[in-house]
């Protein structure tokens, strides 16, 4: 489903000292796989995820998604891919502050250019999505009226509401206690069993063990790629 070839991402900051956030990465992920990405802070994990999520473009190299070179896609195609094919759980949530939890979760449904469902049906789906992350009692709260872990769970519900075939999760349990983490991992496992492909960044080994494969990143490069554990 995913193939990256010699992927590079360079930033030029501080008197032209170039920062290679990605420094030649090669990897592929099969449809239906559950892969974890680990690595030190600043090693390029979120940068890679942003490119996989079609939110950013590489400085060099290729990203082939579902057989198509993403650099060849139009802006509209990319928007549809992001809305329909990919569910992105951001490391810093990226909720809209002026919308309630419910409206934040409904956004992917509103932007879906495929046949639109009636508003009431969308609303029910959003309520169900929030209930699945334990937030049925917080639908009307705005992000600044929610705890850190609650905001993270709203971001998770929003990413999963369209049942996307590819889930990109960047530190999905970073702000969650162990019981909420278990609930979220169970949710991801259910989706995986139903056929979703999952790529998950985590710095917690116990969470990474849920995946069938762990890719280790360092200084913008892949340094190990192992299958084992659950699969």
């Amino acid at each position: 489903l995913i193939e990256v070839k010699d992927l590079k991402k360079v930033y030029g900051v501080e008197e032209d000292s170039a920062v290679y956030a990605l420094d030649g990465m090669n990897a592929s992920v099969d449809r239906g796989e559950f892969a974890a990405i680990m690595g030190p802070s600043g090693s390029g994990k979120s940068t890679l995820m942003n490119i996989l999520g079609c939110l950013d473009t590489p400085s060099a190299g290729q990203y082939i998604l579902d057989g198509r070179d993403v650099s060849g896609l139009s802006k509209d195609d990319l928007a549809d891919v992001r809305n329909q094919k990919i569910g992105f759980i951001f490391q810093s949530f990226n909720l809209l502050p002026r919308l309630s939890a419910l409206d934040n979760v409904m956004l992917p449904l509103l932007y879906d250019t495929r046949e639109a469902q009636p508003q009431e049906m969308q609303r029910q789906r959003a309520i169900a999505a929030l209930e699945s992350v334990g937030l049925g009692h917080r639908t009307g709260h705005h992000p600044n009226q929610l705890s850190g872990g609650q905001q993270q769970r709203v971001a998770i519900a929003r990413a999963l509401i369209n049942q996307p075939p590819l889930i990109l999760a960047d530190e999905p349990t970073g702000n969650l206690d162990s019981r909420s983490s278990v609930e979220i991992m169970d949710l991801l496992h259910d989706l995986h069993k139903q056929g979703a492909t999952i790529v998950m960044v985590t710095h917690e080994p116990d969470i990474a063990r849920h995946a069938g494969r762990i890719l280790c990143v360092r200084d913008g490069r892949l340094i190990s790629d192992g299958r084992g554990g659950n699969n």
Copy 2:
């Protein structure tokens, strides 16, 4: 150093369904202690920390800091307490987006109403603070040019630069890999050995074990308070 008596915090949202973020909390922390707070997502930990940090006021109950009832302090007194006595590491970092990492870390020095040091000396202290969290090579970057864990470390450097006697850390390692987490915990231990009082919220048991005491919170109340482990 810290005493909270029957502390309550109520929010009224969603058709007047009152949310008791804190529902009658009693606790005290001695000078020089290192205490961890654990509990489920949404149980009131950050709400408590905001009150301890003089950033929020309770709906009922008392907060006595260093022998003084905080509700009796003037706005200026509170600003001085926050600047000189307390170092706050926020769960969501709260960095100023238009300032570089260096300028973000320097802010507490600029706001210090005690004798001001020369600009160059403040700058050197800020550089040293960033080096102590492994970010000496990122001083000029702005928050949106930093990884999640790097932003967290800038927030840590900023909280600690004034060497405050009370450190309030809300999930300080939530976005850090294990090696960076170890470095941050070592830093906190050094400050603790030098006499700082530390109250740290974490959902990771391995991190909580660094403290001499673990307080467990649930639904806005203290449900257990145990000493053991390191002390």
